[in-house]
Amino acid sequence: MKRTEEHIDYNNVVISIRDLRKSFGDLHVLRGVDLDVYQGENLVVLGRSGTGKSVLIKIIVGLLKPDAGTVNVLGHNVDSLSVKELDQLRLKIGFSFQSSALYDSMTIRENLEFPLVRNVRNLGRQEINRAVEEALEDVGLSQTINQMPSELSGGQRKRIGIARTLILKPDIMLYDEPTAGLDPITSNDINNLINEVQERHRATSIIITHDLTCAKETGDRLAMLLDGRFERQGTFDEVFATNDERVQQFYHYNFIE
């Protein structure tokens, strides 16, 4: 495992999921998911493409509605919140999208200002500028402040996407495939950034990935989605210490040392 677990508070469950089910037509993606995520931990959700990893975090943040089951985030049942209450909760959750989801028509500065200006009242121009500069410094991309997203590389876009979520200092970070489509060196930078976010911001994170290097580097704990359920949870070594062919296949096709 990556390092000490001193920063994790195992008495404080931040996200609690019980018997979560979600189907799309005849396709049953989640078939009774149970999961607890503790304060300050980096939980990696592993699974093959199409197993419902992204669906899971989209339900956590209220972008998708579950068919059954409960999702409790910071003590709130997500499915029973009003639009206003959900928006309040969302301000405490940072969501880093697989495609970065930077607003194409805005500069990097405007992208970072967007959540801040709209959600934090009575902020002066200087304070906004400072927050934007700090967020960019956090991800090591201060020089891109006046560029358009289309002028950045895939790795830079991912970092800016993370910076945009960090600007509201969220309690929870959700990363959807943070290293997908990136070269190994850039992926390593992103893994380090995820760990820095955990240490610096004391954030609780769920990292969705099928990249085992990312899982090993960033995860305090792993949960593997198999056939719509978390059938294996634990440390990296615990999850892969099995003869289950599905798990072994997943391991060997990742070319991990």
Partner: protein
């Protein structure tokens, strides 16, 4: 014992093709009604997206000026030129300004403006929102506690609803200039005489119906572009389809609305 119950999926496949298509049509109509209804609900409720609305007014209005100027001006010249031989047969070329005024104000200006806007603005909105949808930008807006419908849809629909009538008035002006140049070159009609005949031929009802019609055209173009973009399917193909479908659907609806407006105005004239 063999089960005699029909599974839902079996029932679905047993449904006749026509019935399934009708289901899809009614589902689409329901979705459109919900989408349009949401506009009237969201437009009145704060917070208002002032900055974005102003930006969209600029995008729709100012950035269409060049194209509208050119097409309006050419419409004026071409319509005048094509109408002349028919009037000349009766020795009535002096009626050209009146004829042009009625044609431009009642039908040509609102239609030309709406069709140009469908092609330029409608496709742009469809492609932009479609692209935002497939690259998860709309989801990103939602998770940062911003109402994407209000920010993206309401602002764009307001912009098209108010800018298309403004552009229609501008089209009337540039088409009139084009027509005057043509009439002046061929019949040596002076500007004051042209203006007198032009405005003498139109009534308040002509102008009023033209403006009202343009509001409806603008609302339709904005709403269709937003709906198609907002409901774009995944992938670049979906974005292309959203843009294309925005143009085709809004043009079709504009013609239907023109036909309805014609009947309504004719009924008003008869009163």
């Amino acid at each position: 014992m063999e089960s005699t119950t029909t599974k839902p999926e079996e029932a679905a496949t047993e449904k006749p093709v026509v019935s399934r298509r009708l289901d899809r049509v009614f589902l689409e109509l329901y979705n459109v009604a919900v989408f349009v209804g949401r506009f009237f609900k969201e437009v009145l409720v704060p917070p208002y997206e002032g900055r974005e609305i102003i930006r969209q007014f600029f995008e729709v209005g100012y950035k269409s000026l060049g194209l509208i100027s050119l097409t309006g001006f050419i419409t004026g010249i071409v319509f005048t030129n094509q109408s002349r031989p028919s009037l000349a047969e009766f020795g009535a070329t002096s009626w050209l300004p009146s004829l042009i005024a009625i044609a431009i104000v009642r039908a040509l200006a609102p239609l030309v403006t709406a069709l140009i806007a469908s092609g330029k603005v409608g496709s742009n909105i469809g492609a932009e929102l479609g692209s935002m949808k497939v690259t998860e930008q709309i989801d990103a807006m939602e998770v940062s506690a911003t109402n994407p419908y209000k920010f993206l849809v309401v602002s764009r629909v307001l912009a098209t609803t108010f800018m298309i009538p403004t552009l229609t008035m501008y089209t009337i002006f540039v088409a009139m200039v084009g027509a005057f140049i043509n009439v002046n070159a061929n019949e040596a009609t002076s500007f004051p005489a042209f203006i007198e005949q032009f405005f003498g031929a139109i009534t308040y009802l002509d102008v009023f119906s033209s403006v009202i019609k343009s509001f409806v055209f603008g609302f339709t173009i904005g709403m269709v572009g937003c709906y198609k973009g907002y409901h774009s399917s995944k992938g670049t193909e979906g974005v292309g389809k959203a843009a294309n479908s925005s143009v085709v659907t809004s043009m079709f609806l504009v013609f239907i609305e023109e036909l309805l407006a014609l009947q309504i105005v004719a009924a008003l004239r008869a009163v």
